[in-house]
Symmetry: C2
Subunit: 365 residues, 2 copies
Amino acid sequence: MLPNQSGAVNPARPLSVPPSFRSASLATVTTLDPKRRKGGTDALDALISLVEPELRDVNDIILKRMHSPVELIPQLAGYIVAGGGKRLRPVLTLAAAKLCGAQGGREKALAACVEFIHTATLLHDDVVDESDLRRGQASANAVFGNKSSVLVGDFLFARAFQVMVEDGSLDVLRILSNASAVISEGEVLQLTTSNDTETSEEAYLEVIKAKTAELFAAACRIGAVVANRPAAEEDALRSYGLNLGISFQLVDDVLDYSAVQARLGKTIGDDFREGKITLPVVLAFRRGSEEERGFWRRTMEEMEQQDGDLERAIELMVKHNALRDSVERARHYGAVARDALGLFPNSPVKRALLDVIDFVVDRDF
Amino acid sequence: MLPNQSGAVNPARPLSVPPSFRSASLATVTTLDPKRRKGGTDALDALISLVEPELRDVNDIILKRMHSPVELIPQLAGYIVAGGGKRLRPVLTLAAAKLCGAQGGREKALAACVEFIHTATLLHDDVVDESDLRRGQASANAVFGNKSSVLVGDFLFARAFQVMVEDGSLDVLRILSNASAVISEGEVLQLTTSNDTETSEEAYLEVIKAKTAELFAAACRIGAVVANRPAAEEDALRSYGLNLGISFQLVDDVLDYSAVQARLGKTIGDDFREGKITLPVVLAFRRGSEEERGFWRRTMEEMEQQDGDLERAIELMVKHNALRDSVERARHYGAVARDALGLFPNSPVKRALLDVIDFVVDRDF
């Protein structure tokens, strides 16, 4: 650990990206040259439109089942559940079920369970990370308090299991209880790698597999389970979801240093301010000079941050192609996800699931 | 709301009970005249000894199943799970199963699930309440941090559901997912009654039923489920657990103002410092003069607390018999719990379950 090299230090204060930086690094920081983009919002919208009636039912189930006589629960849950997001995970459950030819509609209640578990982890993550913004709104814990967020997260988690019990499939209960345990393990593992600039790429991957990709995997796999498809298809959908989820988190971690995000008015630098070691940091640290490593140690281990540090971090990432190569890693997992669907015959929903891979890798929002 | 009447104010600082107060009010504050006590630790020890071999297996299951490759999880979980407590809830599951003549030992893994869920709620409760002491040790969140406590609680909760899925009973999954949802509703409800001195006895009861008694009820009911007993016995054990749990929490809330607790070196006044409205406050407020109500509003609504306030609170409770009558309410629920077991034939385990009611009502620790 290097001694504190900084003068005035205020790690808690959000660092804003100056306009000059935003425009200058727009093309470099993200690899989101419009000509390269195959996915974009259109790909996700196309997938959503294929499951639109079912998704409407899922939304109704979500609203109905997050009800409680304790008013604060639907208030707070509604703030985050109903408050936005693309419902990517429940959409994946619905699409996977459609891909497998599921009949009977069980996937709708189970898609709601997936969203409840996701929301519970968001609420608990917001509490512990003290992040102020989630989807551009003030996070639930900033509005309602940490205490409420923890408890309402617990309620949604329990409610998900109640709904699964009503569905009555021990297979689904197994998949989602396993996923829930792995997610919390991933979150704890992330804590223990926090502020360690020597975190390896493998350790980082293990964290994002557990905390993010496992729920994507479960969401997709459930589609095959409700359709009573053979194990090979269950495995294929699990693999698709897992690799898509890894891609998704990799790109999410890149976007936290993205000038496009800053330009869209979204907060960037949350991970930096928290000392969260993501792949862009892992790569920039390993590719950096000893002086640069000192910078990373000071800012992300000793948490001695000052004005201009976030900008310097992004400059170092750009210099070492850490953001570009993180997106390339995401592209690799996207390719694996693509091949996982190989054994399914062509169909509109299969095409849409494949296009969503490009959306996940190339999105800039 | 009255204006702030206090001078120096430091609500965060724990108030200590002066030795003179401790000895003077020992007999008055608690109703624990040794001559009246039928229960005591002996009653709980007697129950434990009846299920001792099974409880040893439960402890092994707990240690084995709280394992994770993420080392912080068993470390932190072990701190609280293995760290002490009488394992009252799993003991109740084992005893109820024995009362029902269960064979096959399924109740042991399920008793571990009950303890995991209980531990998860403790971890989350410690986070949100910022309490410093739990069973006389520093609370897990004081040692490991809030973030870890939330996430390890999530892990234990998910692990409980994994173990239930392995057991394979949808009935048990239903009972414990329902209980988990109700517990979190109770905790949220408690938040919304916090700092409201006009909380009614009914509202208070609703909170403790949900946050405490529901898990006691589920723990006992599972004993009948694994033994495939008729609904009437399931209901009887649920009722026993529910009413025992209400008693338990009532007495717990009395003990937070107990001089005996203070003498034993335990922290008292946690609820007072948090502005948590428990039955002793409800009764003292309703029975108090307008000047006294002003005191309660200042200290528990406006949270303007100063040296001597905890002592005054206890004096007012003693003056209005609020502590004594709260224990009398606990005795009432204990009587209901007693009758719930009426339809079971006499046996050593039935006698022990009945004696535990006295332990719960008359304990001073």
